[in-house]
Subunit: 335 residues, 2 copies
Amino acid sequence: MPVTLKDVAERAGVSPSAVSRTFTEGASVSARTRAKVERAAEELGYMPSALASALSTGRTKLIGLVSNNFHNPVFLEVFDRFTRGLQERGLRPLLVNLSDETDPANSVRMLRQYSADGVIVASSTLPPSFARAFADAGLPVVHAFGRATPTPEVHVVGIDNVECGRMAARALVACGYRRVAFLGGPASATSTQDRGAGFAGEIAQHPGITATESHAEAYSFEAGRAEMQRLLAAGKPAEAYFCGDDVLSIGALSALEDAGLSVPEDVGLIGFNDMEMAGWQNINLTTIRQPILEIISAAIDLVVTTADDPGLGPKARLFPCQTVERGTLRTPAAS
Amino acid sequence: MPVTLKDVAERAGVSPSAVSRTFTEGASVSARTRAKVERAAEELGYMPSALASALSTGRTKLIGLVSNNFHNPVFLEVFDRFTRGLQERGLRPLLVNLSDETDPANSVRMLRQYSADGVIVASSTLPPSFARAFADAGLPVVHAFGRATPTPEVHVVGIDNVECGRMAARALVACGYRRVAFLGGPASATSTQDRGAGFAGEIAQHPGITATESHAEAYSFEAGRAEMQRLLAAGKPAEAYFCGDDVLSIGALSALEDAGLSVPEDVGLIGFNDMEMAGWQNINLTTIRQPILEIISAAIDLVVTTADDPGLGPKARLFPCQTVERGTLRTPAAS
DNA sequence: GATTATTATGCAACCGATTGCACGCTTTCT
DNA sequence: AGAAAGCGTGCAATCGGTTGCATAATAATC
């Protein structure tokens, strides 16, 4: 039913090869045949089959976009940017949702079956081994928002979470808080581990300042809210909290307000991510901004590069973060 | 490099056909050959190429998931459910982001090139003609969250937005509000048009009650907030607002609070969608719930059915909505 | 204008599967 | 035991393109 290359060839009075070459960038075709072919194609409404083409060239232009973050609104922006970025480069995002799975095997299998040109794992919670499973299967992979080790197992594009933890600690110290705490995401998330470690490490440099740590069950508003409620019920909350993600901060904020505490007067709060909501006037969250756009753009570039030249060793590309001062920490002057 | 069917056949000492049949549901293979083939496949780590298979069967198991809603957090849940639902049925979501485009031509072309088995347009703002472009190109299509006309042009799964507008109106009337308003999304969104029409229609039944209408520029927090600020600045706000979406309500709520007005004492608010945040204690938004899960599940079923049997005429499947009473409308008793 | 270098084109094999058809073998029935 | 029916298997064509190679056509060179 659909128009094939052969149909076009027949109509244009040329060989199938000529037609194929007309649609292949940089192939050798004379202006006259090209014109004939293009006219015939136009008349017939021809459209090359990406499948057939992929079968012989080995390239599908399909990029697996693998994630388990379907509850953090920040990731809506992440998906938005990834899909647009990929589309702009003529690539197609094949979305893989592994909310239910912890084992990469299924995703690896399916992306290999479709012979995806590359894979982007977009998650701040998955361990490096997860992304490596794709690499082991021969798929070019980039872990966006992943953990960067000195000797990365796979390409990583993201931020230095340990340093970010330190930044948060410094911000709290600068404001004069003396009993601070880290309210992290799930303890299994690498991002939380690293941010927590950086935070604790920096605080340890300051004798007289104490830091505690606890964890929400997920990176979600509800979990942040529940954890803060637990902390409040347990009594004696810290003077200021570094939350592992803005969603946790905002959940915590709502718990604090419900408890009749005011921020930053009674309790200080610094978040992470600078999601859209953080800037709302009635939230106005002090937070640490990670450059999502740059990360995504770099991740796409890197996966494309790797697909073209699988040779190069794992690279970690980290972007600096920035503290965004708003209204949930008391001013240093007031300390 | 990768293991092919032929390799397995050779190793198992059978013909390629035998191997293919082993992996084809319901094909005729003897137990002995099947065992041989399975062992050989196992040893070689064979994995059928979805591309090659698609080329000969004509089925790719690829479903285009087309949307332009990448700024409303509700859609994160929508994507989550769609991807999981598709994966459970052995289908793969090929995500198409048309935030920038208003013309379906590009999406149609690319989904045809990949010969997607079907397309789901997930959007409450696109006109029916958009979805029809896919149908015209021969792609089975279902418009989820779309507008249902008496004689639909394509399959639609969603809700009766006009009736929802009436529900909202009834809720406001029941609370005794006399000057009400509809704060809709973009005027071009079909969902807003219909909700507004239902709302106005119902209010018109009640002499003495007046309704006005205005529009936010997008379905987003910021837009809702900005529009409410504009209304407040213009003076004399309505007694209660029906917002075309929870994100608008929550944006509006923040504008009201900033202005020192309290809800529901000074201004009543009813939203639409019942997104997760609507239930937060410090928001506690009265809203109208649309059954997202059922809609998504039905949309997937319908697109699969249509792919198997393209014959059947366009069908509209609508689900009832429900008013969720929380705390942003004054109680009827108090009227 | 003859000769060489270059560019265009077609042929045919191939990418990795599926499937209609024909044939051989085992069952089943009379 | 012989015929009819049924199952299992392999052959070969096909899905819709791509591409190396050989050759034909054109351009460049002297």
